[in-house]
């Protein structure tokens, strides 16, 4: 009886394991295949946390298994039965202390990395600023330095820190490119910055991660990282071939539609600031007045 049951369990466990390994721990598990320093730090944190929680969780499950198998209420169970035993200083100390230590370590590293990730990854040499606006239901990328803009895709030079400045002219959303690094909210009336960097050229999946209504499911985009020279080429091409992003054009974009990728030349100077500080930007006014946003415009 017992034998058979254990056999079934093993079978189930083996089945689960193969299922998980089957379609490959391939590239498609984006979070575990970061291509930039931010994503790498986050991956390390994920692995660290998996290890730390496993230290207790695996023993807990093993212990449960053993206990349930051993202390069954069968007439001839030879194991000891101590119905009144309910106190043990040592044991209780153990399971207060071990989790405290684990959480202590994990908490310490968490604080460290939380502060670290606010700063740009590595050395900030020659960063590129891209202003990101989430619209219903599309992404607008403006390059203040290059004077171009794109919709639903974005090109970046590889090996160069990118300063994404995020806002929204629609319900709040979240800007997420898993392989570059974790997300940050885009919020109406606010501008947040998110430092990311791609170490290698490639095409990376990105999407809106915070629900924003009917067209939300279609708010994915590609981030295309290229060598600097290719990037410069691309900028030139857009500049010379793409139509300008006029006020009317922006108004069209701001409507509640789903669109294909697009490109624009001469982005409107100050458009982004206008979006941020339009009527709703009251709560950012203090900071905007300090001129922080302005100093960043066109710094490239």
């Amino acid at each position: 009886m017992m034998q058979k049951r254990t056999g079934t369990y093993t079978l189930i466990a083996a089945l689960c394991a193969t299922l998980f390994l089957l379609p490959g721990c391939g590239e498609q598990v984006l979070v575990f295949h970061p291509v930039g320093p931010v994503g790498q730090v986050e991956k390390q944190m994920i692995i660290l946390s998996i290890v730390m929680v496993s230290i207790v969780v695996i023993p807990v499950i093993a212990l449960l298994w053993v206990i349930v198998v051993r202390y069954r209420d069968t007439p001839d169970n030879p194991t000891p039965y101590r119905p009144e035993w309910s106190e043990s200083r040592t044991l209780e100390f153990l399971w207060w202390a071990v989790p405290i230590v684990i959480i202590g370590v994990l908490g310490f590293v968490t604080v460290q990395k939380t502060f670290a990730l606010v700063r740009p990854p590595g050395k900030v040499i020659n960063p590129l600023t891209i202003q990101v606006t989430s619209l219903d239901w599309k992404w607008l990328f403006q390059y203040p330095g290059q004077k171009i803009a794109t919709v639903n895709y974005c090109e970046i030079p590889a090996n160069r820190p990118i300063e994404f400045v995020l806002t929204s002219n629609a319900p709040m959303n979240s800007f997420w490119v898993p392989q570059l690094g974790g997300q940050e909210y885009t919020m109406p009336g606010m501008a947040m910055k998110l430092w990311l960097e791609a170490d290698q050229p490639g095409v990376y999946f990105g999407s809106g991660a915070n629900f924003s209504g009917e067209g939300f499911s279609h708010m994915h985009f590609h981030v295309i990282a290229r060598p600097q020279s290719d990037f410069d080429h691309w900028v030139q091409r857009i500049k010379s071939t793409a139509p300008p992003l006029t006020t009317q054009q922006y108004a069209v974009l701001a409507q509640r539609t789903i669109v294909q990728p697009m490109s624009f030349s001469t982005n409107q100077p100050g458009l982004f600031e206008k979006i941020v500080s339009q009527d709703g930007g009251m709560y950012m006014r203090r900071d905007l007045m300090k001129g922080k946003v302005n100093t960043h415009v066109g710094t490239d």
Partner: protein, 208 residues
């Protein structure tokens, strides 16, 4: 309640105040204290909202333009006094003086009514000046916080009136004493809340 054997504490009503003589009434008073704890958190949330939004005046007026020092000071002193008279009502109740108790309750109610009328006239003049709930986040938060307190006070006035009627009908019994005691707790609590509205909304508003 179920154990509501209308049983009087063995120690006798001598050392126990009237409103506590019945187990059932003691439970209600205790329960009301806990209710006050929830109400405290409700006001805390509104205070938090106000604190976050009070600089967000949009295109509308700021606190300085609409707060009237004499107006809110008068409201404050009236409410403080009403809290005092309400305390005197409880005091009289504990001494078994029903008439004095009812008189002080009536004074309290009247003070409450004048507080509410002052507040309403303050709101009316704000609105006349174009400062409405719809003008800006600051004003939304202001009207909601102060208005919620005002609604509580209005409710308290109606409640106290009902208890006054019951006192007249049933006299000073453990039940009516409990009811009166609870409404007095409510009233003092609203006074505490007002002190913070006075400080955080009005004084802070006219400070900057």
């Amino acid at each position: 309640m179920a154990m509501a054997d209308s049983f009087v504490k063995s120690q006798g009503s001598q050392s126990v105040p009237l409103e506590y003589t019945h187990e059932e009434d003691a439970l209600r008073i205790f329960g009301f204290w806990i209710f006050l704890a929830t109400d405290l958190l409700l006001f805390a949330s509104l205070f938090a909202t106000y604190s976050v939004l009070y600089r967000h005046v949009g295109h509308g007026p700021g606190p300085l333009q609409i707060f009237d020092i004499t107006g809110f000071s008068a409201e404050t002193f009236i409410l403080l006094t009403s809290s005092f008279t309400c305390g005197l009502a409880t005091y009289s109740m504990h001494r078994g003086q029903k008439a004095a108790m009812m008189a002080w309750m009536i004074v309290t109610i009247l003070l409450g009514v004048s507080f509410i009328s002052l507040e309403l006239s303050e709101f009316a003049s704000d609105i006349a000046r174009g400062a409405t709930l719809q003008t800006s986040a600051f004003l939304s938060a202001f009207f909601t916080l102060v208005g919620t307190h005002g609604a509580h006070v209005s409710f308290g006035i109606v409640w106290m009136t009902l208890i006054l009627i019951q006192l007249a009908i049933h006299g000073l019994t453990p039940t009516t004493a409990r009811k009166a005691f609870i409404v007095s707790l409510y009233w003092h609590f609203l006074d505490v809340v007002w002190i913070f509205i006075f400080t955080i909304v009005y004084l802070l508003g006219v400070m900057s």
